[in-house]
Amino acid sequence: MLLIYCPYCEEERSELEFRHGGDAHIARPTNIADITDEEFAEFFFLRDNPKGLIFERWRHIHGCGRFFNAARDTVSDKFYASYKAGEPKPDLSAVHPATEKTVETYEATEGTAK
């Protein structure tokens, strides 16, 4: 069970209080009625699903009720940032190394000796 920092309540709370809200920073097009089918599929369906750093939405549904964004590593599940909705994507290059397009072997993820 994750421990999640709510930037509105300014404290860490248990995952039980939160609802995941999918990828962050995907703005609904203001001219949505006019976009093409491809653009709509891109907006609504296609996701990076990164193995590594993901920017995602959470809602503190059993707390303050607010949506906010967080940056988390999808391999370690460690959070790197948690910030209010509407704030720009933080630059995390200093704390989180760029995600390589590589896949760890199962041995590596499951504990082969180094």
Binding site: M1, A41, T74, V103, E104
Partner: protein, 417 residues
């Protein structure tokens, strides 16, 4: 390949089992293959087998970053059924079920397919409407699925609590008698052995790090931890990591990967004769041949590649199991684990061509990939060989997210109103 039989076992028993050969060979990779399949799970190994057997394409390598069957093939609760709703789903899962029925003999490898019956519990009027819709659709499609009264359900599965005072009383059940379970590892090993016997190269501990492209954008091979390996065609079937692999060819697929958890109890003498699922309370259970109750469970709510998950997920599952089967409260959980499932927006798989020439994808089987293994593998082989989908898989294209022609089994179940 030395044939497996009771006689072979007896012969080996008399000489200390010294004469068994490796079930598959793991040669050094060639410079180039006609087809490289990325992902050594049941789907990938099965596709290699059918490519060799049915399409005569044997210059094939299956590349696996870890060990064969180490992804979702070896981490699932092994439920097999075909009683889906939509034609596209029924087609592919029934095709698969028919292959399951003869798979041990086909592969000369006992995959322990056991049609012990999959029973889905109905708890309210909405469930009943939904199951009846499935039952009628299945019957007209030629798939067995029958409605049981609560008493019939209890007769079929004696541990079931059908008392009216239960929090979620049971008002009936849908039973597919041909549904059941199989031995997951054996599926990977059986396909690997049979494919290897037909000349397919099985290459483990080989991680794909990139996909190389030609002048026209077509694929030409894969960069791996063991160097570059050329390929005329690349077929990706790396459940849990398909987004990662496809991104190497700059293809985005509508997937999100989440951990799906499962657990087993300590082994006990036979107590549970079939598979029982309840979508309303969300849990499913069967008993393995070793005697463990195999229980599945929910997915964590967030994207993760971690093969672990929160205690609260299995807690919720066990809540449901103990509510349905109060006698199991004193049973003990022996092991819990997670697999990474690739989920599409409509919870149906994607199998088809991609915008990149000669790159094919088989992904998004979500939580239903194991039961689809032989069928998916068989149709994927057709796709790879012919360059276009088999008619049974023609609805599974990537394009449906543009057109809106989704195969939304989950949406069809709707919710209580």
């Amino acid at each position: 390949m030395r044939k497996y039989s009771v006689f072979a076992v007896a012969r080996e028993a008399l000489r200390g089992h010294k004469g068994w050969e490796p079930q598959w060979v793991s040669p050094e990779p060639r410079k180039e293959y006609d087809v490289i399949i990325v992902g050594g799970g049941g789907h990938g190994l099965g596709a290699a087998y059918y490519l060799a057997k049915e399409h005569g394409i044997t210059n094939v390598a299956v590349i696996e970053k870890g060990w064969l069957g180490g992804g979702n093939t070896g981490r699932n609760t092994t439920i097999i059924r075909s009683n889906y709703l939509y034609d596209e789903s029924m087609d592919i899962y029934e095709h698969s079920l028919k292959l399951w029925e003869g798979l041990s003999q086909e592969l000369n490898y006992n995959v322990m397919y056991s049609p012990r019956g999959v029973m889905m519990l109905s708890h309210n009027i909405h469930d009943k409407q939904s199951f009846k819709r499935h039952i009628h659709a299945n019957r007209l499609h030629g798939i067995d699925n029958e409605w049981l009264t609560p008493q019939q359900a209890k007769d079929f599965c004696p541990p079931l609590d059908i008392s009216a005072t239960a929090r979620y009383p049971i008002n009936g059940a849908a039973l597919q008698r041909r549904g059941g379970t199989a031995r997951h590892d054996a599926v990977a090993w059986g396909y690997a052995r049979a494919a290897s016997d037909r000349g397919v190269h099985i290459i483990q501990n080989c991680e794909v790090k990139g996909i190389r492209r030609g002048p026209n954008g077509e694929v030409t091979g894969v960069e791996t931890s063991r160097g570059f390996i050329g390929a005329k065609k690349i077929a990706v079937s790396a459940s849990g990591h398909n987004s990662v692999i496809m991104s190497m060819a700059d293809v985005r697929v509508p997937l999100h990967s989440v951990p799906l958890q499962a657990l087993v109890s300590e082994p006990m003498k036979p107590i549970f004769p079939c598979v029982v699922m309840s979508n309303t309370v969300h849990a499913y259970i069967s008993q393995s041949d070793k005697g463990e109750l195999v229980i599945g469970a929910g997915t964590d709510q967030y994207n993760s590649y971690s093969q672990t998950g929160g205690l609260q997920i299995i807690t919720h599952t066990l809540d449901a199991i103990c509510e349905l089967f109060p006698m199991f409260r004193r049973v003990k959980m022996m092991r819990q684990w997670g697999g990474i499932t690739d989920n599409t927006p409509d919870r149906s798989a994607i199998q088809g061509v991609t915008p990149v020439p000669n790159l094919f994808v088989n992904c998004g089987w979500g939580t239903g990939g194991f039961k689809a293994t032989p069928g998916s593998a068989h149709l994927f082989a057709h796709l790879i060989a012919k360059g276009e989908p088999h008619k049974l898989a023609s609805g599974l294209t990537l394009d449906r997210f543009r057109t809106g022609r989704l195969i939304d089994e989950a949406a069809a179940a709707a919710v209580a109103h």
